[in-house]
């Protein structure tokens, strides 16, 4: 082969390699960018898959969990060792019962649409807040929501009072900090890739509170990979 031919072949190979790398990068960006997947441990009860999902919401994720954006508001998930991880893509089994406990260390932001003040898509359409059953939260009090629109699931998250003692500065927040505990149960259906999100404009410092962590996977939104 002549020198020109080798040169052209080299250029073509380099372009192809660059194309593959760009494709992989774009593919990563459009699926679960910003958050590695966390496989939630599953237990069996009467032949039925049961998941215990423990998550927390924090006003500032902190430099330890997000060096690039330590001031972003964020959801975190607790692993079996009790460590809080900034991962918002969760692998869950299909047709499972999911018991969710949210520890919220953040204050109120308020809902844009009061409709989401009512828990829906969860067992009994009720949640417990600090052990007390509630079927609605005053919309202005909502700190966040946990919502999976494909399931018709929305749960408002009760806030820590503005004058609470010992508030959490940066995550991970120990349980000794002021917090609220929200619990509810939902059921995964057929396998699929379902997004979850927060409906509260809780991104501090952004236009209408809807930029930054609200528009970046890995903080206030992610996926349920139901397998």
């Amino acid at each position: 082969m002549r020198a020109t031919g080798w040169k052209l072949l080299g250029i073509a190979a380099a372009l192809a390699a660059a194309g593959v790398l760009i494709g992989l990068y774009v593919g990563k960006l459009t699926t679960d960018a910003g958050s590695p997947t966390y496989t939630v441990p599953v237990t069996q009860s009467g032949g039925h898959a049961v998941v215990d999902l423990k998550i927390e919401t924090v006003a500032a994720v902190g430099p330890q969990l997000s060096p690039g954006h330590p001031d972003y508001v964020s959801y975190l998930i607790q692993n079996t060792a009790g460590k809080w991880l900034r991962r918002t893509v969760w692998k869950l089994p299909a047709n499972a019962t999911v018991h969710v406990t949210i520890y919220n260390f953040d204050g109120a932001s308020g809902l844009r649409n009061p409709l989401f003040a009512r828990p829906q898509g969860v067992d009994g359409n009720v949640m417990t807040v600090d052990g007390k059953k509630l079927d609605v939260l005053p919309p202005d009090d909502a700190s966040h929501t946990f919502a999976v629109p494909a399931y018709g699931l929305v749960v408002p998250v009760a806030p820590v009072a503005d004058d609470a003692k010992n508030p959490c500065g940066y995550a991970p927040c120990p349980m000794s900090n002021a917090h609220r505990t929200i619990q509810f149960t939902f059921h995964t259906g057929k396998p699929g890739h379902y997004r979850w999100q927060c409906f509260v404009p809780c991104a501090a410092g952004w236009i209408d509170g809807f930029g930054g962590p609200m528009q970046t996977i890995g903080y206030m939104d992610g996926f349920l990979d139901v397998l």
Binding site: N113, D135, Q215
Partner: protein, 284 residues
């Protein structure tokens, strides 16, 4: 060095007549196929009166452009086969200038086609809005009683309010069959676009704006709703299913919604054509 002078072609066969004959023959075959075979299968289907009209419009317009496309294809293929340069010096063909017949014909035909399509499209739009958003003061208003349904876009879900049922709001779109619906489309945050494919409805959802669109439902069916305006991170996931159901089923469903959402009704703002929610505690 000057370019060689163009000369009249030695081939004196009647190319124009051949092209016209081939064009008419192809058009006579292709146009009925497009109109009667392809046309009824064009989107968006038969889910509403507006959707059916859109299929009719799409069929007509596609049928009208079919002879135009046929002419282009025939001329292209004929030129490729008959005017192929096979060797020798490449020279320009004879210039075609000051041919009044060609110019008048060209201008007249294109003007008639364009004017007809403009008139046809305007007439169809003015019937009932053709399923499109007409803004807060619609000019193409269908007659008769209408069920008002408000569509509220927000990042990233559509919710629906029924003012004639106490202003109840739900996350599900359910409509009664064979009913004239008056959709009021608005947004609480960014610009969205409410696209109910099978109903032939597409209307922008702008914050602070009441965008009115009309649709007359037909029989029960599932409809696919999606946002048709790039609206942020989860735009691609802003889709859902709605349902057109018999009137009795709709009545039962709306009663259930009123009961289910009773707890939150006291917190909903009074029904309005648009809303200005302002939770600015975190806004920069």
């Amino acid at each position: 060095m000057s370019a060689p002078a163009a000369t009249a072609p030695a081939d004196r066969r009647d190319h124009g007549r051949r092209v016209v004959v081939a064009w008419i023959a192809l058009s006579l075959v292709a146009t009925p196929i497009v109109a009667f075979v392809l046309g009824p299968n064009l989107p968006p289907g038969n889910g509403s009166a507006q959707a059916t009209e859109q299929v009719f419009d799409n069929t007509w317009m596609t049928a009208i452009v079919t002879p135009v496309i046929c002419l282009l294809l025939v001329f292209f293929v004929y030129a490729l086969s008959q005017f192929r340069h096979t060797g020798g010096q490449l020279v320009d063909g004879p210039p075609l200038r000051h041919d009044n017949q060609v110019q008048v014909l060209w201008i007249a035909v294109t003007a008639v086609v364009v004017m007809f399509l403009a008139g046809f499209g305007s007439y169809e739009l003015l019937q009932n809005g053709a399923g499109g958003g007409q803004g807060p003061s619609p000019i193409a208003v269908p007659s008769g009683q209408k069920l008002q349904v408000q569509v509220i876009g927000q990042q990233w879900e559509f919710t629906y309010r029924y003012p004639s049922y106490g202003g109840v709001e739900t996350s599900d779109l359910v409509l009664p069959a064979d009913t004239q619906i008056e959709l009021h489309v608005t947004s609480l945050d960014a610009i969205h676009s409410f696209w109910a494919y099978e109903l032939g409805v597409k209307a922008d959802a702008n914050p602070g704006v009441d965008n009115v669109a009309y649709v007359k439902t037909k029989g029960p069916r599932t409809i696919h709703v999606r946002c048709a305006e790039l609206c942020g991170l989860w735009h691609g996931y802003m889709f859902d299913q709605g349902h057109v159901v018999p009137q009795a089923q709709f009545d039962a469903w709306i009663k259930t919604q009123q009961k289910n959402y009773a707890a939150v009704m006291k917190y909903l703002p009074k029904y309005a054509k648009s809303y200005y929610p302002d939770p600015q505690r975190r806004a920069g």
